[in-house]
Symmetry: C2
Subunit: 304 residues, 2 copies
Amino acid sequence: MQDVRRAAVIGLGSMGWGAALSLLRVGFAVAGCDVRAEILQRFEEAGGKVCTTPAKAVEAADAVFIFVVNSSQAEDVLFGENGAANAASAGTVFLLCTTMAPSATISIAERLEAAGMLVVDAPVSGGHLKALSGEMTVMGSGSEAAFAKAQAALDAVSAKVFRLGDRPGPGSQVKMINQLLAGVHIAATAEAMTLAAKTGIDLQTLYDVLRVSAGSSWMFENRGEHIVQGDYTPRSAVNIFVKDLGIVTSEAGRSGAVTPLAATALGLFKEASEAGLGLEDDAAVAKVLAKKSGAVLPGMEGQT
Amino acid sequence: MQDVRRAAVIGLGSMGWGAALSLLRVGFAVAGCDVRAEILQRFEEAGGKVCTTPAKAVEAADAVFIFVVNSSQAEDVLFGENGAANAASAGTVFLLCTTMAPSATISIAERLEAAGMLVVDAPVSGGHLKALSGEMTVMGSGSEAAFAKAQAALDAVSAKVFRLGDRPGPGSQVKMINQLLAGVHIAATAEAMTLAAKTGIDLQTLYDVLRVSAGSSWMFENRGEHIVQGDYTPRSAVNIFVKDLGIVTSEAGRSGAVTPLAATALGLFKEASEAGLGLEDDAAVAKVLAKKSGAVLPGMEGQT
């Protein structure tokens, strides 16, 4: 098994940034690519090698992490002008970490494999803090050879790697279902906090009781705190769930499955986005519910 | 503070049964009342004193737990024929553990207090296993005097008692919001499992991955296992959530709050109940989603 010590990270957003820093921390040479100049500058200060095109970033990399926002960006950085696929050496392993529709993942993986690359379908979970500490969870699928080539890089960024199949696809499928639950749970947290505010329950007390009760969820614990504190600094933005729940409902529709809760939650995230909250923390979906309910949450205008 | 050692439990269902056994275990004399003869027989075998009317059960009790199914049953066992309120000695403490609309709790508490009783608004959480082990969570509110009189009995049945206010009402309000989250999370678990089954993901694998990911919830961990195993033995029944989400949407409506996810989940539990699944485990809401999706879950007809 080859010890991969040269990596590239395409897309230095919330999760990609954490992965890139985790790789640097354990001694990888890391080339980073992003469209935002200020991010590239910070990355250089952190010890990374700055590249302005995906083609440049992958020239000397054995493992390439794709952390862009959606499948259209992924296709662009891989197969567009100055894309990574043509510039990488044969046998380079590509880790597809973007949350994409499973059908998109499979199509992209096939094109990469046809170009002689190895591919791990590798969506991640855990949030930006786990990304920063190199403790993400990876919902992975791909060949033995791809996992072997990617192992050192995966070790650097993750606490746990699930092996969900020997082909790209199952990783994205499981991630999609994680996002169904996560998106519904964020919207449910927002609905619960709004009802509490409207009926005169102290939100901090509610949070303290329910986080240790049967109504709790990972998202209630995490995003509930944002709502109680009125802090909508984006850790993960409303628009991410417009995309991810959109993937859920459209893939469910293709398969004939009904997803009434995902559809309801998607409607709320869309309303939040249309109300100008798309770049705020996803917990800002609570502002939409509060406004409709005539309730005032911490951090909202009208708060006393 | 008086050391209460004589208790009554009205309603020996899933949670009341666990509370009664927990009281017996620490040395309380416990009188139990239920409409089902076979439950009373089991209770006698466990060392309890069997009573066929609430009035009989509370004659020698200092603390009375009300664990019936809904507010109409609570009114009946308290104020109906052979009801507990007239038979209890003045100063007896009543613990209202039934999940009821906060408005119903307040009205019942006022009638009990007018009759000279002490009242703790005391809905519980934790499930039947925690009830059996005397480790429920109590979302309590009531006067100092009521909590003092109830303390030994509360210690026997619970691991944690939240004190949410000095009057009945807040306990039921917080429990109502817990039920909003719990009900939505059960339905979301069912939706996620159905989508997984429909798109060819192994359910056990999905469960193992998502229970430790950001999509997890208390209910996903608990009810997800029921669905994976196809085990719909009722720990808590579909009809409980028809009732509890009904309370959520009607109290929310009264206050002007919108609860689109609770309303969507309520619709699914109602469909399950109308399909004859009302007395099955609440996870059976998954069967409704699976049927609509043309998916087959473990334990459903057509399963190979």
